[in-house]
Amino acid sequence: MTPQLSWYLALSAMLFTIGVLGVLIKRNVISMFMCIELMLNSVNLTFVAFSSFFRDVSGQLFVFIVMTVAAAEAAVGLGIIIAIFRNRESLDVDDASSLRL
């Protein structure tokens, strides 16, 4: 039984759902951040699967760009997390519910 395209899509949907679930139920900022990374990776899997099955290189270029965006997001997001921790001494998102420092 050779791998079908739909298998990869199903796996990607499951990974994305797990990521959404983590963002919804986690209270730690870093855990939510990692769940966002998981969601980005599930989309990457969809791109690579389509690119491989339809023999078009565009999908892999999009994956490249998505990885760049994820790297930028990691840099800025972790900076924001450290700034919040310095101001509030906590990583709980419920403690950071107001935008005032």
Binding site: S31, L61, T68, A71, E73, L78, I81
Partner: protein, 203 residues
């Protein structure tokens, strides 16, 4: 990964997920993307995340009473629907293109990706470079935190607190160097921001 309460264990599990995804990319005839996945995600980004976890000394999440308990049946129903859809897709959908490009192997190679990136997708590539520049500037702005304090304070959070007078200690007689871990604490020690503390307590 979601089930872990300790964020460090979650990070290690996420590294495992990334490496597994890299293996899937190899089976999908995309070796360059697999290598970049391991290097950038499992290497750079997760090292950054683990570094921040170590730096902030994150404790485990304590178990808290669950909010929105009324939505649990709906969530279970949606999960069952997703599971049924996945089963349906895996076992009954046969109309998708079935053979990955194992024999046509020039799709995922570095040369074809580079050719596509620098000819047809040149504009997104340049926009990406601009985005990285903005990320660098944003991270630097977040990292230096002079703007949040009064202009004469001269407080650098971290191990030492120094202003110009504190640095030249022989000019002033009795100055003791205080060591703090946060801006709030440093400001409180130096007597700044008294009004803010009072207003926070008063609320």
């Amino acid at each position: 990964m979601v089930a872990q309460r300790n964020p460090l264990y979650g990070a290690i599990s996420l590294i495992g997920v990334f490496i597994s995804l890299a293996c899937l990319y190899v089976t999908l005839a995309a070796p360059f993307i697999a290598a970049v996945q391991v290097i950038v995600y499992a290497g750079a980004i997760m090292v950054l995340v683990v570094f921040v976890i170590m730096l902030l000394n994150v404790e485990e999440e304590e178990r808290q009473p669950m909010r929105l308990r009324s939505l649990v049946p709906i969530a279970l129903g949606l999960a069952a629907i997703l599971f049924a859809e996945s089963i349906f897709i895996i076992f009954f959908v046969q109309s998708s293109p079935s053979t990955p490009t194992r024999n046509v192997s020039d799709i995922g190679l570095t040369s074809s990706i580079g050719a596509g990136l620098f000819t047809r997708y040149l504009l997104p590539f340049e926009i990406t470079s601009l985005l990285l520049l903005m990320a660098i500037v944003g991270a630097m702005t977040l990292a230096r935190r002079g703007g949040l304090l009064p202009s004469g304070a001269g407080i650098v959070p971290g191990d030492q607190v120094f202003s110009k007078e504190l640095l030249e200690r022989r000019d002033i007689g009795d100055v003791s160097v205080v060591s703090t871990h946060s801006t709030e604490e440093a400001a409180r020690l130096l007597g700044l921001r008294k009004d803010r503390q009072a207003s926070d307590n008063g609320k």
